[in-house]
C-alpha cells in the first residue's frame, strides 16, 4: 500500500533518475555516439533502474503506518489462504466478543452509563440511612437545611417521582402520566440546558403553591405537542391546575437511567397538587421522599463532603430526636447509589459479565491453540524468512498483526451478535404504563468496549503462539522439521486440560439452562394461584379528580355493582393490587401470640385490599373460613397459608387477631387462602394479608371483570360504564389478564432462560471448536507417527478411530467434571429460585449425550484428515 506523500516521493525519485539518464545520454552524444547507442550505454552504466529505485525507497524507511498497512495486507493474504482456519477463529472470537459486548451493553445501560449531565463525575448522591434501609431519601426540610449549610456543594437539587393526570385543555379527559417533582434549580444544578425555553428560576422554587410552571420532557413535547416551538407560554393542566410551560428538556435527558418522566414541576407545588396528604411533605421531616443530587464544589473530594454531611446529619438528629434519632446522612457516588438501590442488578450484571468473560477467555484459548497448531506448520516458513534476513521483532509484530486482524474481524462479527442481542433485550417491554425502559443501545462506549476486547483478545490469543513459533523457528525447525516434540508434552497436556475445562463449563451452563427450561415448562402448567384467562383489568384513581374518601368508596361500590350487570360478565371484583406487579402495600403486622426475635417488634407483610367477590373472581382458593362479606361488622382479615405456617404453626388460625399498622388496629382472621405467587413465579412462598373493601379502601384500585367471552371485547363496555358514572374519571392500564400474564410474567422468565440458554450454547460451540483445535493439533504433531503406523500396516479406519477415541475421551472427562460441578451449582441456584425444583434425570441424560455427539462431530474432521495422510509424502518430507 502506498500513501499520497510517498507517492509524491516516488515521482520525485523517478524524475531524478530520468534526469540522471538524460545527462548521461547527452555526455555520450557529446563523445560522438549515436543517440540510440548513447541512450543504451547510459542505461547500461546506470545499472538496474528498478533495483536502484527499490533500495533508494528503502532508505526513506517505512513510516510505521505503512509498515502496519503492509502487515495487515500480508495478514489478510494469509487469512484468505486458510479460509477454514479464518472462519473458525473469527466465529470463535466473534462469539466471545459478542457475548462480552452484549453483557457490557446491558450492564452499562443498567449500571455504569453516566447520567447525561454536565461533568457527571462531580455529581454525588446524598441519602439518609437507618439500620434497616441504607438508601432512604431526604425530607424537604432536611434538603433545605443541607442546601443552606453544606459548604462542600455548589448546588443541591432533588427529585421525586410523581404520578399525576395531565390534560392539554380543560375539556380533554385527563390521563395519568409519570413525571417528577424537582426541588431548587434542578436543571442548573445538573448542568442541563433546556433545548427550548428555560429551567426553573430561583424564585419559582421557594414559595409553596405559588408557581405553577412545568418543564416538559423532549419525548412528551414531541408526542403531545408535535414538537411545536410555540409551546412555551401555553398551559398544561396537571391534576386540573393549569401549569405554564416554561421549557423543554433535552432529548434522552434522564436523572434515573431507566425512567423517562414526561414533565418536571417544582416540589413546592406538591401540596397544591396533592392536597389529600395528611401531613404536608413540605414541612414534615419524617417524609423522606426526595432523591438528592449535589454538585461538589471545586477542589472538594467526596470524602470531605461525606464528613461534612455526616456531621450535618448528626446535628439534625440532635435537633429532631423524634424523627431523626435513627437516621444518618451519607454521600455516595452515582454508581454507589445505583448499586445500593438495586443490589440484585449489580449482582446479576457482575455474574453475567463474569460468565461472558469466561466465554471470551475460552474463545481466546481456542484461537491461541489454533494459532499454535498452525505455527508448527509455519515454523519452516518462519525459519526461512529469519535466515534470509527478516528480523525477529519484525516477524513477531507481523504475527501479532495477524491475530489483531483476526480479532478485529471477529469484533465486527461480535458487534453484529451483540447488536442482535441488544435489539432483542431492548424490545422487552415491561407491562406497565410507567415508562420504564432498559436503555440498551450500541453507543460509542459499547463499541469502544468491543474494540478493547478485540485488542485484548489479539494479545491474549496471539502473543504466546507468535513467541513460541519464533522460538521454535530460530533453532531447530530448519533441521528437524515437524518431528521434534521436545518440551511439547507439557504444552499438549495443558491444552487438553483446557479443553476438558471448556467442556465442563459448557456442561454446567447447559445443565442449568436445561433445568430452567424444565422449570419453565412446569411453570406453564403450574397454577400461579390465580385465574389467568378471561379477565379484563382496569385501573382507576378518583382522587385524581378530587373525590373525597366517601365519594371514592361510593364510586367503587356502584362501579362493581354495575359491572356485574354488563352483558356477558360472570363476575366482577375490586382489588388494590394485582399479582406479579409490585403494587401491593406492605403492612406492619403483629400476629397474636407470636414471639418476635429480640429487637424486632413487628413483621412486614405484603397486603392488598380486596372486595367480597375477589376470591371467586380471581379463583383464589380459600382453604379455611370464608371470603369477605359485602359488609363486615368488625375489622377482619384473610391470611394465606404461608402466613399461618410462619406465625401460627400447627394452630387454628381462624379467630386469631393481628395488630396492623402504626396505630395497632386489631383485626380478626376469618379465612385462610391458599398460598399463591405474588411477585414472581420463582419466588419462595410468601406470607400475604387480604383486607376487606369497603371497610378499607384505597383511592387507586383495579376493577377485575371476568367473562366467558373474549375478555378483550369487554374493554369498550367497561370504559363506557366508567364514563357514564363520571365522564372525567381517568382510566389507565386497561388490559386483559392473559396477555399481561403471558408477556409480563412468563415473558421475563422466558428471557432470563434464553440468556442462560444462549450462554450454554455458546459455551458448547466453543468447546467443540476447542476440541477440534486440539485434535487437529495432535494430528499435525503426529503426522510422522501416523505415516509410520500406516507404513507398517495400520489401515485408515484404525487411524480414524485413534483420533476419535482421543476426542471422545477428552469430552467424556470434561462431561464428568462438568456434571460434578453442575450439581452443586444447581443447588446454589435453586436456593434462590423456588421454581427450579429438583435435578431431573432427563436433563442429566440429555446434556452429556448432546455433548458427546458434538464432540464426536468436532473430532471427525481432523480424524478424517489424519486418515488421508499419505505415508510416502510424510516420511520423505522429514
Amino acid at each position: 500500500m502506498r500513501f499520497p506523500w510517498s507517492r509524491q516521493r516516488a515521482r520525485d525519485l523517478e524524475d531524478e533518475i530520468q534526469a540522471h539518464l538524460a545527462m548521461a545520454t547527452r555526455d555520450h552524444i557529446e563523445r560522438g555516439e549515436s543517440p540510440r547507442d548513447a541512450a543504451w550505454n547510459a542505461r547500461r552504466e546506470f545499472g538496474n533502474e528498478a533495483l536502484v529505485k527499490e533500495v533508494t525507497r528503502a532508505m526513506w524507511g517505512w513510516s510505521s503506518l505503512e509498515r502496519l498497512a503492509a502487515d495487515v495486507k500480508y495478514a489478510l493474504r494469509m487469512l484468505r489462504r486458510n479460509p477454514g482456519f479464518t472462519l473458525t477463529a473469527v466465529l470463535c472470537l466473534g462469539l466471545g466478543i459478542g457475548a462480552t459486548t452484549a453483557t457490557f451493553g446491558l450492564a452499562d445501560a443498567l449500571l455504569f452509563r453516566p447520567l447525561p449531565v454536565r461533568d457527571p463525575a462531580r455529581l454525588v448522591v446524598v441519602t439518609s440511612s437507618t439500620p434497616e434501609n441504607s438508601s432512604e431519601g431526604l425530607s424537604y426540610r432536611d434538603l433545605v437545611h443541607v442546601r443552606d449549610h453544606a459548604r462542600s456543594f455548589v448546588a443541591v437539587t432533588a427529585f421525586q417521582l410523581a404520578s399525576l393526570t395531565i390534560a392539554r385543555s380543560p375539556d380533554e379527559v385527563p390521563r395519568r402520566k409519570m413525571g417528577m417533582y424537582v426541588a431548587g434549580d434542578f436543571f442548573g444544578a445538573l448542568g442541563v440546558v433546556p433545548v427550548l425555553g428555560r429551567g426553573f428560576a430561583p424564585y419559582e422554587t421557594i414559595t409553596p403553591g405559588r408557581d405553577p410552571v412545568v418543564v416538559l420532557s423532549h419525548e412528551f413535547w414531541n408526542s403531545e405537542f408535535g414538537a411545536q416551538r410555540g409551546v412555551i407560554g401555553r398551559h398544561l393542566r396537571i391534576n386540573g391546575i393549569p401549569f405554564e410551560i416554561i421549557g423543554v428538556a433535552p432529548e434522552d435527558f434522564a436523572v434515573v437511567p431507566s425512567m423517562r418522566p414526561a414533565y418536571f414541576v417544582p416540589f413546592t407545588m406538591r401540596t397544591r397538587l396533592w392536597p389529600a396528604a395528611d401531613r404536608d411533605p413540605l414541612e414534615a421531616r419524617e417524609i423522606r421522599g426526595l432523591n438528592v443530587r449535589a454538585r461538589l464544589a471545586p477542589s472538594t473530594g467526596i470524602a470531605q463532603a461525606s464528613a461534612e454531611i455526616e456531621s450535618l446529619g448528626a446535628a439534625l438528629a440532635e435537633s429532631f430526636p423524634d424523627t431523626h434519632s435513627r437516621h444518618t446522612l451519607h454521600v455516595r457516588t452515582e454508581l454507589g447509589e445505583r448499586v445500593a438501590q438495586s443490589p440484585h442488578v449489580a449482582v446479576v450484571s457482575a455474574a453475567l459479565i463474569t460468565l461472558a468473560f469466561l466465554v471470551l477467555l475460552i474463545a481466546c484459548a481456542n484461537v491461541a491453540s489454533l494459532l499454535l497448531a498452525r505455527a508448527r506448520s509455519r515454523a519452516r516458513e518462519i525459519a526461512v524468512r529469519l535466515s534470509i534476513g527478516a528480523s525477529a521483532p519484525r516477524l513477531f509484530r507481523q504475527m501479532l498483526t495477524e491475530s489483531l486482524v483476526l480479532s478485529v474481524l471477529a469484533a465486527v462479527v461480535g458487534v453484529l451478535f451483540a447488536f442482535a442481542a441488544i435489539a432483542y433485550l431492548g424490545s422487552i417491554r415491561l407491562p406497565t404504563d410507567t415508562p420504564i425502559v432498559i436503555p440498551t443501545q450500541l453507543d460509542l462506549r459499547v463499541l469502544l468496549f468491543a474494540l478493547g476486547a478485540a485488542v485484548l483478545t489479539a494479545l491474549l490469543a496471539g502473543a504466546m503462539p507468535a513467541w513460541s513459533s519464533l522460538r521454535q523457528a530460530i533453532a531447530p525447525a530448519l533441521k528437524a522439521g515437524d518431528a521434534s516434540t521436545t518440551g511439547g508434552r507439557n504444552r499438549m497436556f495443558a491444552r487438553q486440560g483446557l479443553v476438558v475445562g471448556q467442556v465442563a463449563l459448557s456442561v454446567v451452563l447447559l445443565v442449568i439452562s436445561g433445568m430452567l427450561i424444565d422449570a419453565f415448562r412446569r411453570m406453564l402448567i403450574l397454577d400461579p394461584g390465580i385465574r389467568t384467562t378471561g379477565v379484563m383489568m382496569v385501573e382507576l384513581d378518583p382522587s385524581l379528580i378530587r373525590y373525597t374518601a366517601g365519594q371514592t368508596r361510593q364510586f367503587y361500590t356502584t362501579l362493581v355493582e354495575r359491572a356485574r350487570q354488563l352483558p356477558g360478565v360472570e363476575a366482577a371484583a375490586l382489588s388494590s393490587a394485582i399479582p406479579f406487579r409490585p403494587n401491593f402495600s406492605d403492612e406492619q403486622v403483629v400476629p397474636e401470640g407470636y414471639d418476635f426475635p429480640p429487637g424486632q417488634t413487628a413483621a412486614v407483610v405484603s397486603s392488598s385490599i380486596v372486595d367480597a367477590s375477589y376470591f371467586s373472581t380471581m379463583g383464589v382458593v380459600l382453604l379455611q373460613g370464608r371470603a369477605f362479606a359485602s359488609t363486615e361488622s368488625r375489622p377482619v382479615a384473610i391470611v394465606n397459608q404461608e402466613f399461618v405456617r410462619r406465625y401460627w404453626p400447627g394452630q387454628e388460625a381462624l379467630g386469631k387477631q393481628i395488630r396492623i399498622g402504626a396505630n395497632q388496629e386489631l383485626v380478626e382472621v376469618v379465612g385462610v387462602a391458599r398460598t399463591g405467587k405474588y411477585l414472581s413465579l420463582a419466588e419462595l412462598p410468601q406470607p400475604y394479608l387480604y383486607l376487606p373493601f369497603p371497610q378499607r379502601h384505597r383511592s387507586r384500585m383495579t376493577l377485575l371483570v371476568q367473562t366467558e367471552a373474549d375478555a378483550v371485547r369487554m374493554a369498550g363496555p367497561i370504559l363506557e360504564l366508567v364514563r357514564s358514572l363520571d365522564p372525567n374519571q381517568p382510566v389507565y392500564n386497561v388490559r386483559d389478564l392473559q396477555t399481561y400474564y403471558e408477556q409480563g410474567v412468563l415473558g421475563i422468565a422466558l428471557t432470563a432462560m434464553q440468556v442462560v440458554w444462549a450462554m450454554g450454547l455458546t459455551a458448547l460451540l466453543l468447546a467443540s471448536f476447542g476440541l477440534y483445535g486440539v485434535i487437529s493439533f495432535s494430528v499435525a504433531r503426529r503426522r510422522r507417527e501416523i505415516g509410520i503406523r500406516m507404513a507398517i500396516g495400520a489401515d485408515r479406519s484404525r487411524i480414524r478411530r485413534l483420533f476419535l477415541k482421543q476426542g471422545l475421551s477428552l469430552a467424556a472427562m470434561g462431561t464428568a467434571v462438568g456434571i460434578g460441578l453442575a450439581i452443586p451449582a444447581f443447588r446454589a441456584a435453586s436456593a434462590g429460585l423456588a421454581g427450579l425444583g429438583t435435578l431431573s434425570a432427563w436433563t442429566l441424560a440429555i446434556v452429556p449425550a448432546c455433548l458427546i455427539a458434538v464432540a464426536l462431530a468436532a473430532a471427525c474432521i481432523p480424524a478424517w484428515h489424519a486418515s488421508r495422510i499419505n505415508p510416502n509424502v510424510v516420511l520423505r518430507l522429514d
Partner: protein
C-alpha cells in the same frame, strides 16, 4: 536478534560511511546533482572509485533524511531539470568529524600494515 546479523550490519555501515564521506566532501565545493557527484568522485579519484548508482542514490536520500544535506530542483545549464544537493550545516559538522575519524583509522591501518610488512619481511 541473532548475533550474526549484527556483524553483517556493521560491515554495511562501514562502507556506507565511506561513501557518505565522499559525498559530503564533494558537496563542500557547491551544490551538485547526483550525476555530477558521481562524475566528480570518479574524476577526483583518478577513475579509481566508481560510485554505483545503486549506492549513490540511497546514500543521497539517506543523508538528506538525516538532515546533513538538502535538495532542491533546479535547471542545469542545458535546461535539464535536476535535483541539486547542498551541504547543510549539520553536514559540515559531520564532514569534519568523519574526516578526522577517517584520517585516524587510515593512519592506524597504514601503521599496522607497515609494521606487519616489516616483521614479515624480517
Amino acid at each position: 536478534m541473532p548475533p550474526k546479523r549484527e556483524a553483517y550490519r556493521d560491515r554495511i555501515e562501514l562502507l556506507q560511511g565511506t561513501l557518505d564521506l565522499l559525498i559530503l566532501e564533494t558537496l563542500r565545493w557547491g551544490s551538485f546533482h547526483g550525476y555530477a557527484i558521481a562524475n566528480s568522485i570518479r574524476a577526483g579519484s583518478g577513475d579509481l572509485l566508481d560510485v554505483e548508482t545503486g549506492s549513490l542514490y540511497p546514500a543521497l536520500h539517506r543523508l538528506e533524511k538525516k538532515g546533513w544535506i538538502r535538495s532542491e530542483w533546479a535547471l542545469t545549464e542545458n535546461n535539464q531539470r535536476a535535483k541539486y544537493y547542498t551541504l547543510a550545516p549539520a553536514g559540515k559538522k559531520q564532514l569534519a568529524i568523519q574526516k578526522s575519524r577517517w584520517e585516524a583509522v587510515s593512519g592506524a591501518i597504514t601503521t599496522l600494515l607497515n609494521r606487519t610488512t616489516a616483521e614479515g619481511g624480517a
